[in-house]
């Protein structure tokens, strides 16, 4: 598509997209560090993740301001409008992904007070799968690559399948060794948060599709029907 006649409009939209790319990179890093923190029972790294989340909150606000300014001053329409609105929504999605990563990192504290547990490894593996989905969908978003976005979107079902089998695995572990019930319920909660990050990634895929095609991706996405365990609820902040 050609450039705008008013070149400042192009700079505004480019700035928004640059900020989203930057914020996406940071969200990936946060998730990656959170996973490392629980894998290595690294309390310090976990604390860094918690601290780093503030940066994501700030970036969300910056993007929101920039998007609102663009809406007010440029009155974007058509693809420009979709670009701007999607930036708003993706920024708030990334902020939520950040919150979930922060909660995941916090579990490192509890893990560090226990002997190492075998069941942590499959949780981290699920985390890598979700991280892969997130990086791919952010690439798709940045390059406006709908086929890639749709492929990520379809693959979320695999995350759901992993989640369900992991849920059973953790449950079995708890039953075999009741002393691990407390810590394992925390791991279930990590798994649940990862599953949610997967869902947020599919939302970013939907936004990518929306920007490019001007239509919603529809809701016939294959779903794995993740187990909604009462135990896997939000941990207080």
């Amino acid at each position: 598509m050609g450039p705008h006649i008013v070149s400042a409009f192009d700079s505004d939209l480019q700035l928004l997209n640059r900020k989203i790319a930057e914020m996406g990179g940071l969200a990936e890093e946060q998730l990656s560090s959170a996973l490392k923190a629980i894998a290595q029972r690294d309390v310090e790294l976990a604390a860094e993740v918690v601290k780093g989340d503030k940066k994501l909150d700030e970036m969300e606000m910056e993007i929101e301001e920039a998007a609102i300014r663009t809406l007010a001053l440029r009155q974007p329409v058509a693809t420009d409008l979709r670009d701007t609105v999607a930036a708003l929504k993706v920024a708030s999605t990334l902020e939520r992904i950040g919150d979930l990563s922060k909660s995941i990192a916090r579990v490192a504290d509890i893990l560090s007070q226990h002997r190492p547990l075998l069941v942590v490894a499959p949780v981290v593996r699920m985390g890598r799968q979700v991280l892969g989905q997130l990086s791919e969908v952010l690439d798709a978003y940045t390059s406006r690559d709908t086929p890639l976005a749709v492929s990520v979107w379809r693959r979320d079902v695999e995350v759901d399948v992993t989640y369900n089998s992991l849920f059973r695995e953790i449950l079995t572990y708890m039953m075999e060794d009741p002393r691990t019930i407390g810590v394992c319920s925390q791991l279930m909660f990590v798994a649940k948060n990862l599953e949610r990050i997967g869902d947020h990634s599919t939302f970013i895929a939907e936004m990518t599709y929306y920007i490019v095609e001007g239509e919603q991706l529809g809701d016939d996405r294959p779903k794995g029907d993740p187990i909604d365990a009462d135990i896997a609820v939000d941990m207080p902040d």
Binding site: G2, H4, L81, G214
Partner: protein
């Protein structure tokens, strides 16, 4: 469909009530007011409008948008035969109002223009008093019985064009002595004084301040209850705000015609997209 089905069959009463809603909305669904088929317009050798097909719906605001010189005014003028007054202009194709050919030899262009009113791109008050400018149409078409009725039509028309407050104490002064924006509102008052069925407005707000513009937009909204309105505008925001249908013209072609929301969120044609988003094509 049986009567029982029509009333929602043996479904509970509430469902029956809901089932009647679609027929109510079907009744109010806009009908075709004007149509153009294979319309071409030439100014001598200049082919200004090329094979345009379009429907103008009743109780609907249709916006014509497009770059300067693409033929919006030319096409608008076809709809009430205003092009007849231009010697070198030749219009071909079929244009109808309520299903009847408006270029038929039997049609009196003056009568047609009472039904299809027009507000021009440049304000053009007659060199007469403000009062006479507005009273002109109702008088020649015999729409009023006495002076009191005429006074009433003049006042109402000026009020609706949001000019009354500024001119009520000097109705006898020449319309040409008003400011540009006031003249434009005077022309709007003149156009609505004959209660036309279709109102054609060629950039009616280009000389108006934001308040007067908002009032004209409110008037358009109000008129839409009873009339069909076609507005040419260079303001994308205005087109988006006031119209339900939008037609995009480019180099004499009608490139895209669709619901206004569709045009401004997800236009089909790249030329429309480039134009409304302000891009270099």
């Amino acid at each position: 469909m049986t009567v029982a089905e029509d009333l929602g069959g043996d479904a509970p009463a509430e469902t029956g009530a809901v089932a009647r809603i679609p027929s109510a909305s079907a009744r109010t669904a806009p009908e075709l007011k004007m149509t153009a088929r294979s319309c071409d317009v030439f100014y001598g050798d200049n082919h200004a409008i090329k094979n345009v097909d379009v429907d103008i719906l009743d109780n609907t605001v249709t916006a014509f948008i497009g770059p300067s010189g693409c033929g919006k005014s030319t096409f608008l003028r076809c709809l009430n035969r205003m092009n007849d007054t231009i010697d070198i202009c030749r219009v071909t194709g079929e244009l109808t109002l309520d299903g009847e050919d408006i270029y038929d030899a039997k049609v009196d262009p003056v009568q047609l223009r009472a039904r299809v009113g027009m507000v021009f791109q440049k304000p053009n008050p007659f060199p007469k008093s403000i009062y006479d400018n507005v009273a002109y149409g109702p008088r020649i078409h015999g729409l009023v019985r006495n002076k009191a009725d005429l006074d009433d039509v003049v006042e109402q028309s000026l009020r609706r064009a949001s000019l009354w407050g500024e001119v009520s104490d000097r109705l006898d002064q020449p319309g040409t002595g008003l400011s540009g924006g006031q003249q434009q509102r005077l022309c709007i008052a003149r156009a609505i004084a004959t209660a036309p069925e279709v109102l054609l407005m060629d950039e009616p707000c280009s000389a108006l301040d934001p308040i007067a513009t908002a009032r004209v937009e409110e008037l358009i909204h109000e008129l839409r209850e009873n009339y069909s309105i076609v507005i040419v505008t260079h303001s994308m925001q205005q087109a988006a705000r006031v119209s339900q249908k939008t037609a995009f013209f480019h180099l004499g072609h009608l490139v895209e015609y669709d619901d206004t929301t569709k045009i401004f969120t997800n236009p089909h044609d790249k030329r429309t997209q480039d134009y409304i988003t302000g891009r270099i094509g």
